[in-house]
């Protein structure tokens, strides 16, 4: 599903070259639940951006579903994000002036799905995260946990192969965090590939496999039963 080979990423920051990733090799099989763990500044966010096709590596190769994506154009990458990847961010990243339903519909708009069909799929996704009764609420009328569940609904509405979750519980209380985690586990149980990025070992333990990243390199990998 995901195969990274010798991925490096260097930034120019005020004339100084910062190497965020220094040669990452990683393979994630279809249907796996992998946690990428590391302290802040370790390069895990950069890695997530590259896996999520939001960014391209400086060197190295990245295959996604058998397709080499590291050299694709911005438009192609946007298409891949739209079709194959569902994002869940730490800060939810919902559009504040839209209702929950409209937020969930958004990825389907860019896919060109017709209005009726879009609405149906978005309603279904919201039902699935248990927010059928909050469809017409705006983000500021929802609790943090509810907002993140809307974000999960938005991630899964397009039926993507991969769910990328970047610190999904970072801004939530423990109860809401558990709800979101159980949703992610559920998605995994249904056969989706889930990538979880976190600095919290407790959260990471819920994944099948953990990849520890430090200073731009993979330090250790360990298989953990659920």
């Amino acid at each position: 599903m995901i195969r990274l080979e010798g991925i490096t990423k260097a930034y120019q920051l005020d004339g100084v070259v910062v190497e965020a990733l220094r040669g990452i090799d990683l393979e994630v099989k279809e249907g796996e639940f992998v946690a990428i763990v590391g302290p802040s500044g370790s390069g895990k966010s950069t890695l997530m951006n590259i896996i999520g096709c939001l960014d391209t590596p400086t060197t190295g190769k990245y295959w996604l579903k058998g397709q080499e994506v590291s050299k694709l154009s911005d438009n192609k990458l946007a298409e891949i994000r739209n079709l194959l990847i569902g994002f869940v961010f730490q800060s939810f990243n919902l559009l504040p002036r839209l209702t929950a339903l409209e937020n969930v519909e958004r990825p389907l708009i860019y896919r060109g799905v017709a209005k009726k069909e879009r609405r149906k799929l978005a309603e279904k996704a919201l039902e699935r995260v248990g927010l059928a009764d909050r469809m017409f609420h705006r983000p500021n009328q929802l609790s943090g946990g509810q907002q993140q569940r809307v974000a999960v609904a938005r991630a899964l509405v397009g039926d993507p192969a991969i769910i990328l979750a970047d610190e999904p519980t970072g801004n939530l209380d423990s109860v809401s965090g558990k709800e979101v985690m159980s949703l992610l586990r559920e998605l995994h149980a249904q056969g989706r590939t889930v990538l979880l990025i976190t600095h919290d070992a407790e959260i990471a333990r819920q994944a099948e496999r953990r990849v520890k990243i430090f200073d731009g390199r993979i330090q250790e990998e360990g298989e953990v039963g659920l």
């Binding site: 939001l54 946007a78 298409e79 994000r81 079709l83 994002f87 919902l94 002036r97 708009i109 860019y110």
Partner: protein
């Protein structure tokens, strides 16, 4: 993403910031309003001038004598004899000046026109009440007067002036008729004068000689021929081409149309500038909007929006603002034109082309000034955009 969807998103974004959108729109509204109203006004002036010149009489030729040395005018009979020339239909010599006209306690200082019965036909200005001059009035230097509608109104009010006695520069005159009203024109009222027989006027004004002659060509085709023959005759008579001028109605029309055309263009240009300023307002607010919505753009890009989608979204937003503004401005302009022409009795031409051009121009303003901000939004890097607060 198709266009319809882009329009829906644009309306959503515009309605999310109602006051700001309205204020931005106001620039375009005022611009289009000004273009429509001012150009209509200018075109109205043009058509009014045209109508006026045409109302002066058909196939009109005006002969103005400036004279040379002692020969500063034609005699009445010389002027009358011009009627015998080929192609000339009628001739109305004019002796003009100013006079004080009195009736009872009312008095009015006004234009005095001494002429012949042909004047009514040549200038297309007939008596409404009573009668116009007759040949017998001119032959016998009778003290009779035909009043312009304004003069009649000023001196007599609602009373019928026909048959009343008035005094012109102290001499007694009998009112035989009142002219039909012609209305207000660019040169002032066309109804503010008194007509008396030319022979009487020469004596009253103590001035011999005709300096203005109105001629009517028999047909439009004969005008050029008449002008040429008049010019060669006058050249022979005065031996100086600066001693006289021959205008045709068409020449007067050309000159005035040119003037009003320039006026219209100037008004349109000034209004166009305000539309341009409105466009800059759109660009300004779109740039602010792109900055404010950087995060939103980042989210949309993460969700799979392509450059083209973001570009379209912002561009359509600016076009919707300018287009809706243009539409409102168009309607307001139309309303103002209607109101203005109703209130002041001006002829204001409302031409669909101007409205169409103003509206189209406003949409182009939206595209032109929206392109840069939209492109700026589309080029944003999704990671940087997501990171922005």
């Amino acid at each position: 993403m198709n266009l319809l969807q882009a329009v829906r998103l644009a309306f959503g974004a515009i309605l999310a910031n109602k006051l700001r959108s309205f204020l931005t729109m106001l620039g375009v509204i005022i611009g289009v309003f000004a273009v429509v109203a001012l150009v209509s006004l200018g075109q109205g002036a043009t058509s009014q001038v045209t109508a006026e010149i045409q109302g002066m009489g058909s196939n009109l030729i005006v002969l103005a004598i400036h004279g040379r040395g002692g020969m500063d005018s034609l005699t009445l009979s010389e002027a009358e004899s011009l009627a015998k020339r080929p192609g000339v239909g009628a001739v109305a010599p004019v002796v003009d000046g100013y006079a004080t006209v009195k009736f009872a306690t009312e008095s009015s200082y006004t234009n005095l026109v001494g002429t012949t019965p042909a004047y009514a036909v040549v200038r297309n200005h007939f008596a409404d009440r009573g009668r116009f001059l007759a040949d017998v009035d001119v032959q016998n230097r009778l003290p009779v007067a035909v009043l312009g509608a304004d003069v009649a109104e000023r001196l007599f009010g609602d009373m019928d002036p026909v048959g009343q006695e008035i005094r012109i520069n102290g001499a007694a005159f009998t009112v035989i008729g009142v002219l039909e009203p012609k209305g207000f024109s660019l040169g002032g009222s066309s109804d503010d004068f008194v007509i008396i027989p030319a022979s009487t006027a020469e004596r009253l004004l103590r001035r011999q000689g005709i300096r203005t002659v109105y001629l009517q060509a028999e047909t439009a085709a004969a005008i050029d021929m008449v002008v040429n023959s008049l010019e060669s005759l006058l050249q022979l008579y005065f031996r100086d081409e600066n001693a006289y001028n021959v205008f045709t109605q068409a020449e007067i029309l050309d000159i005035l149309s040119e003037v009003t055309g320039i006026l219209t263009l100037m008004l349109g240009g000034i209004a166009g500038i305000s539309l341009l300023v409105g466009g800059i307002g759109i660009m300004n607010i779109m740039l602010v909007s792109v900055t404010e919505r950087t995060r939103e753009i980042g989210i949309n890009k993460a969700l799979g929006a392509k450059k083209r989608d973001i570009l379209l979204q912002f561009l359509v937003e600016s076009i919707v603002i300018s287009g809706v503004g243009g539409f409102i401005g168009m309607i307001l302009g139309y309303g103002a034109v209607k109101l203005f022409s109703g209130l002041f009795g001006f002829t204001i031409t409302y031409s669909p082309q101007v409205v169409f051009v103003a509206f189209t121009f406003s949409v182009f303003v939206g595209i032109f000034f929206g392109l840069y901000p939209a492109n700026k939004a589309a080029k944003l890097n999704p990671i940087d955009a997501l990171r922005s607060e």
